[in-house]
């Protein structure tokens, strides 16, 4: 699973006159593993098990730069003609000090969001339901899918990564200060 893509070598061409184009070194794969996620202690991680809504867990990603998350990708898609594609389901877990609902503003240009409560915690719906964000404990969970129904089903399946077989219906409330961005990393 994780690491399958890392075996792929990427040969790059730097076009003549590229000027500002950056290095032509092979791109490092961004894969993490489920075992890495189980051992992860920086903030609580949640996923939907080995399979959810008909799709298997196919990749675990880790990002720690201008973004900070561990991601669980379910289901595959086929990039074509040099264009990427959206996997059917993705669950990203961020530390609440880096991603929280208060980041979304109301100035011109801000994306509209619909605030709600999901599994007992503050949440927001974006993209007509194709994106859902929940704040629980010290974590913010962002669920991406191709429909509101699928995203809702994935949200119901969320549980802690680790040996806990099922999470209770209600998720832990956000740590004090998390929704208002008062937490520090």
């Amino acid at each position: 699973m994780a690491g399958a893509g890392s075996a792929l070598a990427v040969l790059t061409l730097v076009g003549a006159g590229a000027g500002s184009a950056r290095d032509a070194e092979p791109v490092p794969a961004s894969r993490f593993t489920l075992d890495d996620a189980r051992a992860f202690e920086e903030y609580p991680l949640y996923f939907a098990g080995d399979r959810v809504d008909g799709h298997e867990l196919v990749a675990v990603l880790r990002r720690s730069d201008s973004a900070e998350f561990v991601s669980f990708v379910y289901g595959d898609c086929t990039p074509a003609d040099g264009m990427g594609c959206a996997p059917p389901i993705e669950i990203q877990v961020w530390p609440a000090c880096r991603r929280h609902l208060a980041l979304y503003g109301s100035a011109p240009g801000d994306p509209g969001l619909e605030r709600t409560t999901v599994r007992g915690v503050p949440a927001a719906v974006l993209d007509g339901g194709a994106q859902l964000e929940l704040q629980t404990g010290r974590s913010t969970i962002a669920v991406f899918g191709d429909s509101r129904g699928r995203v809702a089903r994935v949200a119901r399946a969320l549980r802690p990564v680790g040996d806990v077989p099922f999470a209770p219906q209600e998720l832990p409330p956000p740590e004090q200060g998390a929704p208002e961005s008062a937490l520090t990393c």
Binding site: L11, V14, A18, R22, L61, E90, P108, D127
Partner: protein, 202 residues
């Protein structure tokens, strides 16, 4: 009369994906490009990570990207953008080269009372993948320097700010990961840059 023609053109070319009336403001409710119309959650391709404002028509965006960033190639595949629930083809694209390169796709959007003329764009850095299977361009995966989407946005902002343009950033949270043809994944860090354009073209 021109306004009437513009309205007719808008209505005729739109592929409606939702019964949302066109309103006099910039709509950022869909923050991704799409493979084709109609737009859906399954045909998302890239995050929108740049918004040109003030005199941000698509033509000025293309002109000022060429002049200040030096991205003069117009090669690349076509993608679509959503505005007020309707899906439209892109207006322009500019790239720094034809191989490994910076690349941006642009679509002029609805004018906004506060932001002025607005065009949205998806910028990225991508590699031309030839081995083991030639598959075209793949956006750089997430890595220590940020993803290719972040690199493209940052490079464009840096070049235009160096030329005197004003920029700011807004959290859009459009961080969904996209599988690339080299098998790896890339996504935005969720920050969209707003760059003010001037009236004069180059």
């Amino acid at each position: 009369m021109p306004r009437i023609l513009l309205t007719l053109s808008f209505a005729a070319s739109a592929v409606v994906v939702g019964a949302v009336p066109a309103l006099a403001h910039f709509d950022s409710s869909d923050r991704y490009t799409h493979r084709s119309c109609p737009a859906s959650g399954t045909n998302r391709i890239d995050p929108v990570n740049v918004v040109f404002t003030t005199w941000g028509t698509w033509g000025r965006a293309a002109s000022q990207v060429e002049a200040h960033a030096g991205w003069t190639s117009s090669s690349g595949s076509l993608q679509s953008f959503v505005d007020h629930g309707a899906c439209f083809g892109m207006h322009a694209q500019r790239a720094s080269a034809i191989g490994s390169r910076f690349h941006v796709r642009v679509r002029g959007q609805h004018q906004d009372p506060a932001l002025g003329w607005v065009a949205v764009a998806g910028a990225h850095h991508e590699d031309l993948v030839l081995f083991p299977i030639p598959c075209g361009h793949a956006v750089d995966s997430n890595g220590p320097g940020g993803s290719g989407f972040d690199q493209g946005r940052d490079e464009l902002e840096q070049q235009l700010v160096a030329a005197g343009h004003v920029s700011s950033r807004m959290w859009w949270g459009n961080t969904q990961s996209f599988k690339q043809c080299d098998g790896d994944y890339a996504g935005s860090d969720g920050w969209t840059v707003f760059i003010s354009l001037h009236q004069v073209n180059h």
